[in-house]
């Protein structure tokens, strides 16, 4: 058996992955609880939640031998314990220190996982926690009931006087009963704003620590000190006695029914299981195959509505597994906003709503950066300083709200601030400076479009937060890469709203299929503007611009996919348009996206591939690259 135990122990690394994942989850919840804590009225349940999470991390880290995590979480726990008992007042400083402590644990875990080249230095965060846990700001005064004794011998009068004077300086001395003789006891009340530990250390100057007993209103002095059992195992019943009793019990008749307590456990929580992403991806792939097979069958056998319906339902159900709530992204913003606002001397509250809206896991990662950019912008550029706001007759503190909602097959995320709004005059001036053509009386929405131009920035000062000229154009391009759109609305003096729409998933796209040169090509529907017949002579070479097609007063560069010049599909990406000449328009359908890179290699101009109902592979065009190529050819 001992070899079995050693084996189980020796394989501790098998638990590392579980521990890392679990610790990360705990740290995320610690952070969000900390950010929601109101220092003026800390929520006891939240403090308990944080305590429990830190406690869990400490316990498992101890089993796995992660000493530095144990050491830090231990001090962390001490501070939390003081806070939840009210022995320490909670201020910004504690919250910040705990946030930093969470961060270093996170980094330590990243390091242990091999995601960080260097172990983070945890000592500063730990020292800070320790300092707060021993000498934090005072809580409201509490009444202590102090007993010293039984005294081995009387305390010298001068010493006793000094001690009492010292205590009177720390707090307010109440009734006292001094029995300063051998075997006697000194007892007094003290209203103290400081910590019990400080009181203890003062008393210990005069009296032996073992004789000091301090109680407060909540915890009266216990008459007898319980011996602390340091043994790791404490059996309340000897095994032999236990076995004997059990043997006897078994011979007796069963107990009466009414001896039973019947506690009803709280139930009804939505159950959940953990499933690895790989497994889900495999499932998604298989369902994709099934969708294709179904399409093939439908082509050969005509109506197969039931199979089609079931397949579609199955596909939706499987896709739903990959969906995660957008709170995964949103949760990082309260902290970001708080830190940014602090740095910029602004007062900003953030409000989140629709956090449970779900979208594909793969999208979550890719939408985080653009959203972060928008939120930074809102704090840095959108929001005024408290003084500016007061002058404008607005409350000193501004508000940024993030809202997510589902609209059909897409998710809409709004980043709204109640700041100064876009400055129309400044944008027009900057446009004139850059030589961007725009009429002085152009409607607002056209003016706002200018800020999406590459390199367009009106920020007067380049702060280290944003305003480096890589701005809204990058945001828009990244969102468009996901098949999404960005809209902006702004009103001077009352704020700006940026709305981002992205499809719920990247695994399936709505597409237009076209034929050209005997091949089928797939165009993501999100980038298709229109399709039209081309009249003879409409495609013209313009000097220095290559071939162009005039569409609604705009000369678009032309890109030929096939041989015929009769049909054009106008596509748009990154704010630029091009006309693709195709032989035929086949239709509109959902296609399952298959990575070309993973199955073949990266091909310029091609985003991915799909399998059509006839079993043939069709290429999904990368409209962004094609538009750029057409522009280059034209230039």
């Amino acid at each position: 058996m001992s070899s079995a135990a050693a084996k189980a122990l020796g394989d501790a690394s098998a638990f590392h992955a579980i521990f890392f994942e679990e610790a990360d989850e705990h740290l995320v919840s610690v952070e969000s609880l900390l950010l929601r804590l109101d220092p003026s009225a800390p929520d006891a349940e939240a403090l308990n939640g944080i305590f429990r999470a830190v406690h869990s991390i400490k316990g498992s880290a101890g089993m796995l031998g992660f000493a530095e995590i144990v050491s830090l979480t231990h001090v962390f726990e001490n501070l939390l314990d003081l806070l939840r008992k009210g022995e320490r007042a909670l201020t910004r400083r504690e919250v910040d220190a705990m946030l930093r402590a969470g961060d270093v644990v996170k980094s330590q875990i990243a390091f242990r996982r091999g995601n960080l080249p260097q172990a983070p230095d945890m000592s500063a965060a730990e020292a800070e926690l320790r300092e707060l846990a021993t000498a934090g700001p005072a809580a409201a005064p509490r009444r202590f009931d102090v007993r010293l004794g039984p005294l081995a011998r009387p305390i010298e009068a001068a010493e006793l006087e000094m001690m009492l004077a010292g205590l009177a300086e720390m707090g307010e001395l109440g009734s006292r009963q001094i029995d300063n003789v051998a075997g006697g006891e000194i007892r007094f009340e003290l209203s103290l704003a400081g910590a019990e530990a400080d009181l203890h250390s003062v008393l210990a100057l005069v009296v032996e620590p073992a004789l000091i007993r301090i109680g407060n209103e909540k915890q009266p002095v216990s008459e007898k000190k319980q011996p602390v059992n340091d043994d790791s195992v404490d059996l309340f019943e000897a095994p032999a006695a236990f076995r004997a009793r059990r043997g006897a019990d078994r011979r007796q008749t069963p107990r009466r029914e009414n001896d039973r307590a019947a506690p009803a456990p709280a139930q009804g929580e939505a159950g959940s299981i953990r499933v690895s992403v790989e497994k889900i991806d495999r499932l998604v792939n298989l369902v994709g195959e099934l969708v294709i097979t179904e399409a093939m069958l439908a082509q050969q056998h005509g109506a197969m509505s039931d199979l089609a319906r079931h397949t579609r339902n199955l596909q939706e159900a499987v896709m739903a597994i990959r969906m995660v709530p957008i709170s995964a992204v949103f949760s990082r913003f309260p902290r970001l906003v708080r830190e940014l606002a602090q740095r910029l001397g602004k007062e900003v509250e953030i409000r989140l709503s629709g956090e449970s809206t779900e979208l594909d896991r793969g999208l979550i990662e890719r939408i985080t950066d653009p959203l972060t950019h928008l939120v930074r912008n809102a704090v840095d550029h959108g929001m005024e300083t408290p003084v500016e706001r007061e002058v404008a007759g607005k409350p000193r503190g501004g508000e940024i709200s993030l809202t997510a909602s589902q609209r059909g097959g897409s998710i809409r995320i709004e980043v709204r601030d109640d700041g100064r709004g876009l400055d129309r005059a400044k944008i027009l001036a900057r446009a004139a400076e850059r030589g961007t053509p725009i009429a002085a009386d152009a409607p607002d929405h056209e003016v706002w479009q200018l800020i999406f131009e590459p390199g367009f920035s009106t920020a007067e000062t380049v702060t280290d937060v944003s305003g480096r000229g890589v701005g809204m154009d990058v945001v828009r391009r990244n969102i468009q890469l996901l098949g999404g759109t960005v809209e902006l609305a702004s009103k001077p003096g009352s704020g700006t709203t940026v709305s981002v729409s992205v499809p719920l998933t990247l695994a399936i796209i709505e597409a237009m299929t076209v034929g050209a040169g005997g091949k089928t090509y797939v165009l993501p529907l999100a980038s298709v503007i229109e399709s039209r017949r081309v009249e003879r002579g409409e495609i013209r070479g313009i000097a220095g611009q290559g071939q162009t097609l005039r569409v609604r007063d705009e000369y678009l560069p032309v890109q030929r996919l096939g041989k015929s010049d009769e049909l054009a599909v106008v596509v748009e990406a990154d704010g630029a348009r091009a006309a693709l000449l195709v032989d035929e328009l086949i239709g509109q359908q959902q296609v399952v996206v298959k990575s070309l890179e993973a199955n073949f290699r990266k091909v310029p101009g091609i985003a991915a591939a799909t399998i059509m109902g006839d079993g043939k592979v069709a290429l999904i065009l990368d409209i962004g690259q094609i538009v750029r190529r057409a522009e280059r050819a034209a230039a």
Partner: protein
Amino acid sequence: MSHSILVVDDTRSMRKMVATVLQAAGYQVEEAADGAEALDKAKGRVFDLVVTDHNMPRMDGVTLVRALRGLAEYDDVALIVLSTETGAELKAKGREAGATGWMAKPFDPEKMLDIVKQFVS
């Protein structure tokens, strides 16, 4: 037939560690993530031993012990609390509730197996 043990802990890694140690020694292990779930499982079948954490959401370990002792079929089943908390007061509460023993976390696998063996054989 191998003995069955119910392992209760809200911390998944800890639960898995305890379970693995016991499984490696040939015990059949069932897991529960908190006291309430454990009580539910315990009502469905009688385990030969229960190892439970104390500090858990929904229902803590000492409350679980008390609830289990309320069930006739758990009258003579050893209930071991496994907790980082080892304060005498809490231990006394556990004992009063009917716990058979109290083990400190982090635990020594050998020691745990030794204790378990004594109570299930």
